[in-house]
Symmetry: C2
Subunit: 192 residues, 2 copies
DNA sequence: TATTCCTTTCAGAGATTATTGAAAGAAACA
DNA sequence: TGTTTCTTTCAATAATCTCTGAAAGGAATA
């Protein structure tokens, strides 16, 4: 453990580099809120994303001014999501963390998780709901008849849409980093 | 205003159709939570999505067992999002609501809003952050030099990625309902 | 204009989620 | 083994978000 502080407890004005990073971190955190990810977790992720060197829990605590517990929990979540990694530095007992900086990998990871958590459950439910109304179709020829038809149709459309959407995202992920550009080229032609 | 209740205050067992709808509504609501949309708002949306007929505030209150205020606020949000519409029925003073049932339109609407709220702000911030470190580049040739380089590069990659992603989503929306299927076909060939 | 019917608003209550800090746990070291 | 150093956990607290219900606001009707 080396004390990197230049001259002990002088606060030191933030450099433009630090200011810029701080701004990015703040905004990334805010956006996290929109995504059902908590702000702190997103901020930690951003902090690691803009850090050249590995960072330990105490660094995170100091830079974001949060408690040890909070830092620990959110770092763990980020590891669970697969967005950051634990590493160990020779001669240092502490754990350090680094961010997967390849934005494509990041995207892939996030898309996979969100799909599993947010798309698959609703698809399963739709299938189940369809089955429920299919089973009892022959019996009820009453006033509901049209209602049932419309309902089934809507579920069907939603189902197809979600399937197609999932497929395309899968393929994008499989195709890798270049696919967005390639696709965008293809689609531009298609549009004409 | 016609009283549709079959025989007044007999609760009536839920039909399979009603059960199925209820299940869909519930799940759609849960998923809303993941998307930074509140559960109730998502449930109202689902309720309208599976309803053949227009629905008024009292219907929403009754079916979801929520207060008038809650129903009113969330209905308004859904209108603001462009996911549902207010309509008026002849001879009835109440306002009714219907859902845009075309899943493609729904997707388009959601994507537009989310892009504006979640992608554009971060892109602006990245541009701003890049400018901040560009302006001061010539001066600082000290130890930060490499750090600045890496930082700029990462911001750049993120920027490019977000741009490309936005482009492709735009194109998908422009191409309309068939594009997912078409694209998925094209991409499947590409993969081989 | 007064009345009725319906909608919106918003302060307070309630529910949920995030954060802290201290205690327990785990791993390296001597 | 005991000690040190670091990490995790979790009950209590704080912050945030959501919901209610009653009051105020509007618009159609008489």
């Amino acid at each position: 453990m080396v004390d990197k502080t230049p001259s002990a407890d002088i606060p030191a004005l933030p450099t433009p580099l630090e200011q810029s990073k701080a701004q990015f971190i703040r905004r990334w955190g805010e956006m996290g809120g929109y995504w059902g990810i908590n702000r702190t977790m997103a901020e930690i992720h951003a902090l690691l994303f803009v850090s050249t060197e590995p960072i330990c829990t105490d660094d995170v605590m100091a830079k974001l001014m949060i408690s040890r517990g909070n830092a620990s929990m959110n770092l763990r979540s980020l590891v669970d999501w697969g967005l950051i990694e634990r590493i160990h530095l020779r001669g240092d007992r502490k754990e350090y963390f680094v961010c997967r900086t390849d934005v494509w990998e990041m995207f892939e990871t996030i898309v996979r998780q969100r799909r599993r958590r947010e798309v698959e459950p609703i698809v399963e439910t739709i299938e189940h709901c369809k089955a429920m109304v299919n089973d009892i179709k022959p019996k009820a020829a009453d006033a509901d008849a049209e209602d049932v038809q419309v309902y089934k149709q809507r579920l069907d459309e939603m189902h197809k849409f979600l399937d197609a959407f999932g497929t395309i995202v899968d393929l994008m992920v499989k195709l890798g980093p270049g696919s967005l550009q390639r696709l965008s080229g293809m689609m531009t032609k298609l549009v004409k």
